[in-house]
C-alpha cells in the first residue's frame, strides 16, 4: 500500500517472440500472436463461396484462423474483403543487412566548408526529373534555394554550382547537358513508377553514361518516393534516396564520396 516507487514491484520485461528473439513475427496484443490485417478484392461476386475463398486465400498466405471481418459486394462481379489472421511466418532479423548510404551527416555550413577545404573547388551538380515524369517537387526540394523541411537547397550553397533542368527531361538531353555543364554529380528524380518506368528510365541513363565513357567521372544519384539505396545500387547508380530526404543528407554524401574518389584519383577532375 506504500507509495514510494522504490518499494514497487519491478515490471518484468515482456520477452520478444519467445526463445529466439531474432525471429520476428507480427504482434497484435500478445508476443507471438502474429496478428495481421489484410484487405483485397476478388473478381467474383459476393457469396458464401467467395467469402470462403477470401478466407482460404488468407490461409494460403500463411494466416491461421483467418477471419473475414468485412465483406462488400462491389457489384459487376467483384467483392471486397477485410480479413484478419495470425501469421505463421517469422523473419530472422539477425540475418538482414540493408545497404546504407555511408556518409556522416553534416550541416549546411559544415558541408560548404568541407567542400572548400577538402575538395578544393566547387562541386557541379546537375538535376532533372526525367522521362515523362513531371513531378518536380522532389528534385526542387533538394535543389531549390528555398529548400525543404527547414533546410536550404543546394542552390544556396556557396560551393555548389547547380543546374536544375526541371521536368520531363529526356535522358539524352540530360546527358548532353551534363557533359556541357561538366557535372560532377547528376541528380535524377523519378516519381512516377507505373509499370516500373522509373527502373527502365534509370537503367537507360546508366547505359548511356557508360556508353559515353564518363561513368567514373560522375556521381550518379537518384531519388523519389519509391527509390531506395539498394535499388539504386542494383541499377548501377551510386546512391539512392527515398521519401523525406533533405538536402544536407544528399550533400553530405556527395561531398564525402567525391573526396574519397578524388583522393584515390589523385585530385579533382578539371572542370573547364
Amino acid at each position: 500500500m506504500s507509495m514510494t516507487p522504490t518499494e514497487r514491484p519491478e515490471a518484468p520485461k515482456v520477452e520478444p517472440t519467445g526463445p529466439e528473439p531474432h525471429l520476428v513475427k507480427p504482434y497484435g496484443d500478445a508476443m507471438g500472436d502474429g496478428a495481421v490485417q489484410v484487405s483485397f478484392s476478388l473478381p467474383v461476386p459476393l457469396s458464401d463461396e467467395s467469402r470462403e475463398a477470401a478466407r482460404r486465400l488468407a490461409g494460403k498466405m500463411g494466416l491461421t484462423e483467418p477471419q473475414v471481418y468485412h465483406e462488400a459486394d462491389l457489384g459487376h462481379g467483384f467483392s471486397y474483403f477485410i480479413v484478419y489472421g495470425k501469421c505463421r511466418h517469422t523473419v530472422d532479423i539477425a540475418r538482414i543487412v540493408v545497404p546504407r548510404v555511408a556518409a556522416a551527416p553534416m550541416g549546411f555550413h559544415e558541408i560548404d566548408e568541407f567542400i572548400s577545404h577538402r575538395l578544393g573547388r566547387k562541386v557541379r551538380v546537375i538535376g532533372a526529373c526525367t522521362g515523362s515524369d513531371a513531378h518536380t517537387v522532389g528534385i526542387d526540394a533538394i535543389m531549390n534555394m528555398k529548400g525543404f523541411a527547414g533546410e536550404y537547397g543546394l542552390e544556396r550553397y556557396t560551393n555548389v554550382e547547380t543546374l536544375n533542368l526541371g521536368s520531363q527531361v529526356p535522358n539524352d538531353v540530360l546527358l548532353a547537358k551534363a557533359l556541357e555543364f561538366r557535372a560532377d554529380v547528376v541528380l535524377v528524380s523519378q516519381v512516377v513508377t507505373q509499370k516500373d518506368v522509373h527502373l527502365t528510365n534509370l537503367a537507360e541513363l546508366v547505359d548511356m553514361v557508360e556508353a559515353e565513357g564518363i561513368r567514373d567521372r560522375v556521381l550518379m544519384i537518384c531519388g523519389g518516393p519509391r527509390i531506395t539505396h539498394e535499388v539504386a545500387l542494383e541499377l548501377g547508380l551510386d546512391a539512392g534516396f527515398g521519401p523525406g530526404t533533405t538536402p544536407t543528407r544528399v550533400a553530405s554524401y556527395f561531398a564525402q564520396e567525391l573526396e574519397r574518389r578524388w583522393k584515390a584519383a589523385g585530385g579533382a577532375p578539371v572542370t573547364r
Partner: protein, 523 residues
C-alpha cells in the same frame, strides 16, 4: 466556452431539483444499509492485505466467516478491533488469524473502548496516507501538467498486466493522456478481488492491487519521459465496487468508472446492493481527488440514440446529484455520454453535436466523458476510422473533457497495438486541424441543432420528474433506462446487503466524510 444553444434555464433548474430528490432518496436508502464489500473495503483501508493459500483475500475470509453474519449489521470494525486487541497483531495478521481459524471473530471480547480506539487510529492513519496519495498526484500535475483537454483516453486490455504496460507506454508516446485498463470479462461478478500481478484475463486484465501498482509505476516512468502526467483509470464497479474504489485511491488511480446504474442494467447486479456500495465508493473517491466516470453512454447500445437521448441526460443529472451529495466536486464528474447514431442517417452529426454541446453547457464544470461510436461500428475498419474521425470532431467542437478513443477495430477485438496508434494519430490530427472551430462558429437560432437540444432537455425534464414521483427503483423496474428492466430483488449480490443495526460503527467512513466535510454517521 460561451454558450451557443440558448437552453432554457428553468428546465435545467427543474431537472436539478427532481434529480436532487431522487438522489436524496437513494442515499437515504443506502445510508440505512451496509454490504459485504463495504465492510471489506473498510478492512482494506485500515490495512488488511493478502490472501489465503487458495488465493481468497483475507478480507473475504473475515467478512465471510461464520461469526460475521451476525456482526455485519453493526459493521465489522468493532469486532475486528476487538480481535486485533486480542491477538495483538496488526490488521493483516489479525485477519490471517481469523482466516486460519486461530481466532473466532464472534468470541473476541477485548474492551470495546480499546478496540474502537485501535481501529479509529488506523482509520485516521489511512486518511493521512490517502491524502498523501492525492498530494503526490497534485505534485505531478503541478510539475508536469497533463496536456490539453479533451484528455485522450485509451484502453489496454491484453489480459496480461505486463503486456498492458508495454502497450500503455506505446500509447503514451502516441499522445494518450489517460490509460484505462479494462477488466477481464465478468470480473465485476466476482465477489472478491483477485490477488497479485496477473497475466491471464480475457477481454481485459484483472483489476488487482498489484496490477494497479505495476501500471501506476510504469506510467509514472513514462510521464517523466513524456513530460506530462498520464492518468490511470480502472473500474470501481461490480460486486466489489467499494473495495475497487479503495484500492484505486490507495494506488493513485486517477480516474475510475463508477456507476451503479451500469452494473444494474448491464451486469444484472442487484440494485440495492450496488446503489449502497456506490454511496460508499463515491465517498472514497471524493477525498481522493479521483475523477469518476459514469456509464450513461452505454444506454445507447441497447436503446436508440435518437429516441433515448434524453435518458442519458436524465441519468447524468441523477449521477451528478448523487455524486455531489457524496462529497465529489463538479470537476470530478466525468459524466458519460456517447455518439451512437446510425452514421448513415441524414444530419446525424448535427444531432450528435447538439447533444454533446448541450451536455457541455448544462454541466460546465464537469469533464464530460465522451464515448466513441461502438454500436454502428462494423468490420469495415476504413469506414469505422471515419466514424471515429467525426466523433473526434464533435468532441473538439463541443469542448468535451475526456475523450475515449474510438478504435477502427471496435467490432472485432480489444485493440491491437497499432489500432491505438492509428486512433491517436487520427484524433490528434482532427483535433489540431479544428482546434478552435468551436470559438469560431455559432448555431443559428431556430435551427435543427438548437431544436434538438431543447427537445432532449424537455424530455429529460419530464422523465426526471416522473422518476422523482415513482422513485428510482420503480423507474428501473419499468425499464426507463437503456430499455432494460430490473427488479429490486433480482440480480446478483442481494445477499451481501445488510440493514444496519442501531449501533453500526464505521470509523473509516467517518474519516472519509469528515475529509469531504460531510457530517459523520456512526453511533
Amino acid at each position: 466556452m460561451e454558450p451557443k444553444l440558448d437552453l432554457d434555464p428553468e428546465a435545467i433548474r427543474r431537472c436539478r431539483k427532481a434529480a436532487g430528490a431522487v438522489a436524496e432518496s437513494v442515499l437515504r436508502f443506502a445510508s440505512e444499509r451496509t454490504t459485504a464489500s463495504i465492510e471489506r473495503a473498510t478492512l482494506r483501508l485500515i490495512g488488511v492485505e493478502g490472501a489465503d493459500a487458495d488465493g481468497v483475500p483475507l478480507v473475504n475470509r473475515v467478512v465471510d466467516c461464520d461469526a460475521a453474519k451476525s456482526i455485519l449489521p453493526s459493521g465489522i470494525s468493532l469486532a475486528f478491533g476487538k480481535a486485533m486487541v486480542a491477538t495483538g497483531l496488526d490488521a493483516s495478521g489479525t485477519a490471517r488469524a481469523v482466516a486460519d481459524g486461530k481466532l473466532d471473530l464472534g468470541k473476541a471480547v477485548a474492551g470495546e473502548d480499546e478496540a474502537r480506539e485501535r481501529v479509529a487510529a488506523l482509520a485516521r492513519a489511512a486518511g493521512g496516507r490517502v491524502a498523501a496519495v492525492a498530494a503526490a498526484r497534485n505534485a505531478f500535475l503541478d510539475r508536469l501538467g497533463e496536456g490539453r483537454r479533451p484528455l485522450l483516453y485509451v484502453i489496454v486490455a491484453s489480459g496480461n498486466i505486463y503486456e498492458d504496460v508495454v502497450q500503455a507506454k506505446v500509447c503514451v508516446k502516441a499522445g494518450a493522456q489517460v490509460i484505462a485498463v479494462i477488466r477481464s470479462t465478468a470480473q465485476s461478478l466476482l465477489d472478491y478481488i483477485p490477488e497479485g500481478a496477473t497475466t491471464e484475463g480475457y477481454g481485459g486484465t484483472f483489476a488487482t492491487q498489484a496490477n494497479f501498482r505495476v501500471m501506476r509505476t510504469a506510467l509514472d516512468e513514462v510521464s517523466e519521459e513524456a513530460g506530462r502526467y498520464v492518468r490511470l483509470c480502472n473500474y470501481a464497479s461490480g460486486l466489489c465496487m467499494p473495495e475497487m474504489a479503495s484500492l484505486g485511491r490507495m494506488e493513485r488511480l486517477d480516474v475510475m468508472l463508477n456507476d451503479a446504474l451500469y452494473g444494474i442494467l448491464f451486469r444484472d447486479i442487484n440494485m440495492q446492493r450496488t446503489l449502497t456500495d456506490q454511496a460508499f465508493s463515491r465517498l472514497v473517491s471524493a477525498a481522493g481527488g479521483i475523477i469518476i466516470n459514469t456509464g450513461e453512454d452505454n444506454y445507447l447500445t441497447t436503446a436508440d440514440a435518437r429516441e433515448a437521448a434524453h435518458t442519458v441526460l436524465a441519468s447524468q443529472f441523477i449521477n451528478e446529484a448523487i455524486a455531489l451529495r457524496c462529497g465529489l466536486r463538479p470537476w470530478q464528474l466525468g459524466l458519460g455520454h456517447a455518439m451512437q447514431m446510425n452514421p448513415n442517417d441524414e444530419d446525424m452529426f448535427l444531432l450528435e453535436v447538439a447533444q454533446a454541446q448541450m451536455a457541455r453547457e448544462i454541466f460546465p464544470e464537469s469533464p464530460l466523458k465522451y464515448m466513441p461510436p461502438t454500436k454502428f461500428m462494423t468490420g469495415n475498419i476504413f469506414r469505422g476510422h471515419v466514424q471515429d474521425a467525426l466523433f473526434s470532431l464533435a468532441s473538439v467542437m463541443t469542448g468535451q473533457g475526456i475523450h475515449l478513443l474510438g478504435m477502427m477495430t471496435e467490432a472485432m477485438h480489444t485493440p491491437h497495438i497499432h489500432d491505438r496508434y492509428l486512433a491517436l494519430e487520427a484524433t490528434r490530427m482532427v483535433m489540431t486541424a479544428a482546434r478552435n472551430l468551436s470559438e469560431e462558429m455559432c448555431w443559428k437560432p431556430d435551427g435543427k441543432v438548437r431544436h434538438r437540444a431543447a427537445e432532449v432537455l424537455a424530455r429529460a425534464t419530464d422523465m426526471l420528474e416522473q422518476v422523482e414521483a415513482e422513485g428510482l427503483f420503480a423507474a428501473l423496474e419499468k425499464g426507463r433506462f437503456a430499455d432494460v428492466a430490473r427488479s429490486p430483488k433480482g440480480g446478483r449480490g442481494l445477499k451481501g446487503v445488510h440493514a444496519k443495526s442501531k449501533g453500526y460503527w464505521n470509523p473509516v467512513e467517518d474519516v472519509l466524510r469528515d475529509a469531504v466535510a460531510l457530517p459523520g454517521r456512526s453511533e
